[in-house]
């Protein structure tokens, strides 16, 4: 064997390994197929070259090697263009496939015209076609490098691969010709280098793994978000973004949440993907969302943690991915929701400059406070604080999802007062609580589009502590109100520890949470009504250990991560319950 055949044979082995790697690790079917086709063409070409050199392939079969040489170059150009434009290539740049057209024509005419492997890079149509294919690939990567910050790294590696093919193909052939040495026609020693760089780009921009498998196919239902729009939710915390994802998924719309971490409770039909700690986060966000929308036209992608993408990949890359995503959304008649949570003022302004649909949304805590203020005046914050204490919640964590629990809390508070306040006073309080509950329910039932359009309670209701006017309601119910607030404080203190712990477990783990808590209580040998503060601490410790063991069994890193966060959150909230109870 010669040095050339050994090198090409080794390169073919590397190519086979790379094809297997991409097929196993990749998540973009279309690009994987293109890569496999391109890689196989180079593989067959290499094996053919070794066969011809070593004599186990009939020299008359040179046409096969020439055919694969042509095919490999055409597929290289299409693959490189596809790696830059992603899954939109077949739809938006189908002309790229015209490059395959000349392959059969040139292969058929080659024997008659005397175009052989030895003259493949000479000044003939075959040579011109081969150089044209590589030229298109190189031009595309250079253009991407010059115009896109997002694809800067990827276009560098693609350029490297294409230049390697140039050096290992035409340039090396010309050098051998100049030296009068035997040509290694039909082989490109740089093929494994090029395939390696292409594989690197595929894996760098690979879509993120999603937690659930939603059946592919278009969705034709009606959602609360207009199709074909990228909508920015201006909010301090991604409350409405997550809420919208849940409600749309519950309505059957294929929905993907791309977040820092998966939401604790997932509805069926709701996929989740976690933004990785890499500088390619913006590219991967784009490919993940684009792939999802291409597979589920009419679907919804919610990005509550755009700020993390900005922090990891930089502002320019993150916002370029948003612009590209906007086009993908239009193409697929889908929707994308971007939350401004944790973005700085200047970043919000940059995002505004992109002229996306912009919805300003309120802070749920402030609105709940405003609604309660309409009925209970300046004591509303005390009620909310008491509720948060009772549920181990931080006020910032309040959302419309907590409205049913808040109403139940108010009703329990009224029930506690039954003995203390009688007659018209008690009746007045009940009416006020019912009125507040009704407004709370109505507010919680509003979706993001309605909230964005409508009047927020905090804007509509004058707060009694902001002006010095004393309303009639405050005047005649003043005494009962104070008793109500005291009762709410007492309810939060007297509410059985079991109920408060149960709320924590159920909110974090869903309905199964109550079972987990009951198991822990049973292991302590106690009944729910006998729980004490010390027991809560022990339950927090034991639940942490048990759930951590459960998390260790889970093989999926994302699910493992989600469980770990839920465990942490349960522990923190239980500790908060004990601390506030002390």
């Amino acid at each position: 064997m010669t040095h050339a055949t050994i090198a090409v044979a080794a390169g073919s082995l590397v190519a086979a390994w790379l094809i297997a790697l991409v097929l196993i690790r990749g998540r973009r079917r279309w690009l994987q197929t293109m890569y496999a086709a391109c890689g196989l063409a180079f593989l067959v070409m290499g094996i053919g070259f070794v066969g011809l050199e070593e004599g186990f392939l009939d020299p008359a079969r040179q046409d096969i090697v020439l055919g694969t040489l042509l095919l490999a170059h055409a597929l290289t150009a299409i693959l490189v263009v596809g790696l830059i434009h992603g899954e939109t290539l077949p739809r938006r740049r189908a002309a790229a496939f015209l490059l395959l057209g000349p392959v059969p024509v040139l292969a058929v005419f080659a024997p008659a015209e005397g175009w052989t492997l030895e003259t493949a890079y000479d000044g003939n149509p075959v040579g011109g076609y081969l150089v044209l294919c590589l030229g298109i690939a190189l031009a595309e990567t250079v253009y991407a490098r010059l115009t896109s910050r997002l694809y800067a790294a990827q276009s560098f590696w693609l350029s490297l691969g294409v230049v390697a093919l140039f050096v290992g193909g035409p340039i090396y052939t010309y050098e051998l010709q100049a030296l009068g040495l035997p040509l290694s026609a039909g082989a490109n020693v740089a093929a494994p280098v090029a395939l390696g760089t292409f594989a690197l780009v595929i894996l760098q921009a690979d879509p993120l793994p999603s937690s659930s498998r939603i059946p592919r196919g278009p969705w034709r239902g009606t959602g609360s978000l207009r199709a074909g729009e990228a909508i920015v939710f201006e909010e301090a915390r991604p409350t409405y973004a997550i809420h919208t994802a849940r409600t749309e998924a519950a309505a059957g719309r294929p929905t993907l949440v791309v977040a820092r971490s998966a939401p604790p409770l997932t509805a069926s039909g709701l996929g989740t993907a976690t933004i990785p700690a890499t500088r390619h986060a913006a590219v991967r966000l784009l490919t993940t969302a684009s792939e999802f929308l291409a597979a589920h036209p009419g679907g919804l992608v919610v990005i509550p943690a755009l700020a993390d993408v900005v922090a990891r990949s930089g502002r320019l890359r993150a916002f370029e991915s948003v612009i590209r995503l906007k086009h993908a959304v239009k193409d697929t008649h889908s929707s994308v929701v971007l939350s401004t949570a944790l973005l700085t003022d200047s970043e919000r302004q940059n995002l505004k400059d992109l002229r996306l649909t912009w919805w300003s949304l309120p802070e749920p805590r402030r609105e709940l406070d405003a609604i309660l203020s309409q009925s209970f005046g300046s004591g509303a914050p005390r009620l909310l604080e008491a509720f948060c204490r009772a549920h181990g919640l931080r006020p910032d964590d309040l959302s419309t999802d907590h409205v049913p629990a808040l109403i139940a809390f108010l009703q329990r508070t009224i029930a506690e007062l039954t003995g203390a306040v009688e007659g018209s006073g008690a009746h007045g309080l009940r009416v006020q609580v019912e009125a507040a509950s009704s407004v709370l329910r109505s507010f919680a039932a509003l979706d993001a589009s309605e909230v964005a359009r409508g009047r927020w309670p905090s804007r509509g209701a004058p707060r009694t502590d902001e002006d010095l006017l004393v309303t009639a309601a405050d005047y005649w119910k003043g005494k009962e109100m104070e008793e109500l607030f005291a009762s709410a404080d007492a309810v939060s203190e007297r509410e059985p520890l079991y109920e408060r712990a149960r709320a924590v477990f159920v909110e974090e783990l869903g309905d199964a949470g109550e079972g987990v808590l009951r198991t822990q209580i049973a292991r302590l040998g106690k009944r729910p009504e006998d729980l004490e503060k010390g027991d809560i601490v022990r339950i927090a410790d034991r639940a942490t250990v048990d759930l951590a063991t459960l998390a260790d069994v889970v093989d999926l890193p994302k699910e493992k991560d989600r469980l770990a966060r839920q465990i942490d959150e349960i522990r923190v909230r239980l500790e908060r319950l004990v601390r506030e109870d002390a």
């Binding site: 700690a277 922090a311 990891r312 973005l343 910032d396």
Partner: protein, 176 residues
Amino acid sequence: MASRFVTTLIRSAVLFLISVMLVLGFWFHSEFYQLGLTNLAIVGGFITFLVIGAARLAISGELPKGRPVGDLTFSLEEGDRILRGVAATVVRPAEGAPLPGVGQVVRAKYDTGPEFARLVVTDALRQHLSDLTEQDARDAGFRSTSALRGAAAGRWTWTPADVVTILRVRKLGAAR
């Protein structure tokens, strides 16, 4: 001292290997260069230029992570915690001076001026200041969140609603 010696040894070995490969390349292409002095001068000169450039980057420690994109300044105590590996994260206001992204290298400087390390950012995420946990504070080398806020109070005016960036960093190479 030992780690610096090992680093120097590895860098020298890499340089030696590059030199050997350079000589092999010239030997392999000897026939090509026999075609004329011009070929040798242009092609050989260009290859040597690339190799010298790569070697310079290798020696300066800028390979494979590249040049620093900026500075992060630390108080003497904070810098000491980073150097000793007690702190793995850096908490900075998100608004204001641009912060490095993941994979980028920064010069770590004392607020008095001298550079004491090069840091590579391995993760970056945003958080409300009020959402920082005790674990976040411990990762940043502080006993508690209040200690973290207190230490930074002299440098930035923070309110609980402010957004901060938590950079997870790793020290590059041997100490300078």
